[in-house]
Amino acid sequence: MVPLWWYISLGVVLFVIGAAGVLLRRNILVVLMSLELLLNSVNINFIAFGRHYDDFRGQIFAIFVIAITAAEVAVALGILVALVRNKPTLKVDDVTMMKG
């Protein structure tokens, strides 16, 4: 039987790696993929706690997180395609025209 804190620790490690991708990388595509990683680590925690306390709400909230992630990726990639068409760059620092 796998103890609960192994799952929690796996979630922590994946969350930190995803946050590193969001904060340190300058490539928009890799930043979006790291966001997926963040949401997945949260899902691991939801399902681990849900099984530990014998509660279905962990799995149900994981399903909702997956649905919201799908919507987020579709909109983000649409924005990315529109952005690259106007300004052919993939660096986050170069995309400052939307401020103000």
Binding site: P3, L10, F15, I17, L29, A74, V75, L77, L80
Partner: protein
């Protein structure tokens, strides 16, 4: 036996997640992300959530990765491949990440509530039936709201990706 499988899946998923962040080519990042999602779905199977494992494979590996690879093929990534990734480029963010990770790990390892091996309660019987009953009876309104959000995202993505703004 479950522990060995868990260690295998966890190790591979952490390695592939690091590959996602470190790889120079976004295509390599996308493929590593797909491998990582497969490992996470295996972890879901270990957690006795087979429905979530199947949803994970369908949605992430089937839909989202195809979307990512399609967009990577649509836009030009040659300039992005040339620039190197330096982890020391942003020192405050790096320090923040180290503090965050150490803090969470210390808090999890310090507490003795997470160290019990057996689950507090073991459910028995028809899990997926009970799960779907809970989902469609008690959580019907959030479910419908999620479907409306998906429809709005669909329409929004089509409008955003159209050729001329109008």
């Amino acid at each position: 036996m479950g522990q060995g499988f868990f260690l295998l899946f966890a190790t591979v998923s952490v390695i592939t997640a690091l590959t996602v962040v470190v790889a120079r080519n976004p295509v390599h990042s996308a493929l590593a992300l797909m491998a990582c999602f497969l490992q996470i779905s295996a972890v879901f199977v270990l957690l006795e959530a087979p429905l979530l494992a199947v949803i994970q494979i369908f949605v992430y590996v089937g839909a989202i990765m195809v979307l990512f690879l399609f967009v990577i093929m649509m836009i030009d990534v040659r300039e992005a491949v040339l620039q190197r990734f330096l982890p020391g480029g942003n020192l405050p963010a790096l320090a923040l990440l180290v503090v965050l990770g150490v803090e969470m790990l210390v808090l999890v390892l310090w507490s003795d509530r997470f160290s019990v091996a057996e689950p507090v309660a073991l459910r028995g019987g028809d899990e997926i039936r009970e799960l779907s009953t809970t989902l469609f009876a008690d959580y019907l309104l959030p479910f419908e709201v999620a479907s409306v959000i998906l429809l709005a995202a669909l329409v929004g993505a089509i409008v955003l990706a159209r050729k001329e703004s109008g």
